[in-house]
Amino acid sequence: MKIKVIITLKNGVLDPQGKAIQQTLNGMNYKNINEVRQGKFFDIEINETDENKAKSQIDEVCKKLLANLVIEDYKII
């Protein structure tokens, strides 16, 4: 089955890349865009039929590798 994971920076963590994108959008005349925060998206194919099992394994994967919990949050969807 497929599991999707979104990783974002925690609120308050500086995101210079997001800031540069936001300023560029303002420069392109999208003046109403006040903030951009950039994250990561993972599309994971896992050989598992039980959805709960799969999700709990991916939860482990997020904690161990995909996200750095000091600065990032993750969401499994």
């Binding site: 994108i21 420069g27 950039q38």
Partner: protein, 227 residues
């Protein structure tokens, strides 16, 4: 001949380019990315580096910068535009050149000398050049040229492949392709051939004591072609 080198935050080959252009007789000026327009020039150069920290995608933010509209107008009116390395990435992100520069095939930053073959010399950049294989330097993480099959067909039909990676003798194959670029492409033109984007750095090969002279050949020839 007047040239302008556009300087973005994060450009780092801008001053090398300035030295090279001046050495061979261009009256060069540096133009900051936040300017409204490029002063009157015969040649605009987008230099190598890491504009805007390579944020989002290499060259993507520079392609929407304040100065770039003036560069696009100049290019569309037939002005000569040269993009080296990050400059090439910027040209593809603006849509002035087709395709995109992807991450290198083996995920490594490549910094070495390569040989490139000039595939078309009926244009202002390479007309009358004395050699057709040049030794130049590459230094990049995203130099792997990619485009769709349709785009590739159109590029080939219009003879837009400017330079390709090869060995010293001009043999082009997978062994002499440093980064996985399709058809060993190191640089391409637009259809009209007034815009050239390439990954190798001619400005790093202008002194035999430091590196080599094949960049000198390129710049000398370019200046001659303006006369």
């Amino acid at each position: 001949m007047k040239s302008s080198v556009i300087v973005f935050p994060g450009s780092n080959c801008d001053r090398d380019m300035d030295v090279a252009l001046r050495k061979f007789g261009f009256k060069n000026q540096m133009v900051w990315h936040d300017e409204d327009s490029v002063p009157k020039s015969d040649l605009i150069v987008l230099p190598g580096g890491f504009s805007y920290g390579d944020y989002l995608r290499c060259g993507s933010i520079a392609a929407k910068s304040k100065i770039i509209n003036s560069v696009i107008d100049f290019a569309k009116s037939g002005g000569l535009v040269l993009g080296i390395c990050n400059g090439f990435q910027i040209l593809t992100e603006t849509g002035l050149l087709p395709g995109v520069l992807q991450q290198n095939k083996f995920l490594n930053f490549i910094c070495k000398n390569v040989y490139i073959k000039i595939n078309d010399n009926k244009n202002k950049f390479f007309k009358n050049i004395k050699k057709n294989i040049l030794e130049l330097h590459i230094a990049n993480n995203e130099g792997n040229y990619y485009c769709s099959d349709d785009e590739l067909k159109s590029i080939e039909e219009n003879n837009q492949i400017a330079v390709t990676y090869c060995n010293k003798e001009g043999l082009e194959n997978e062994d002499h392709n440093p980064n996985g670029a399709i058809k060993n492409i190191a640089g391409i033109f637009n259809k009209e051939k007034n815009i050239l984007g390439m990954m190798p750095h001619p400005e790093r090969m202008i002194d035999s004591y430091l590196s080599g002279e094949d960049g000198s050949l390129f710049f000398k020839n370019l200046l001659e072609n303006f006369k």
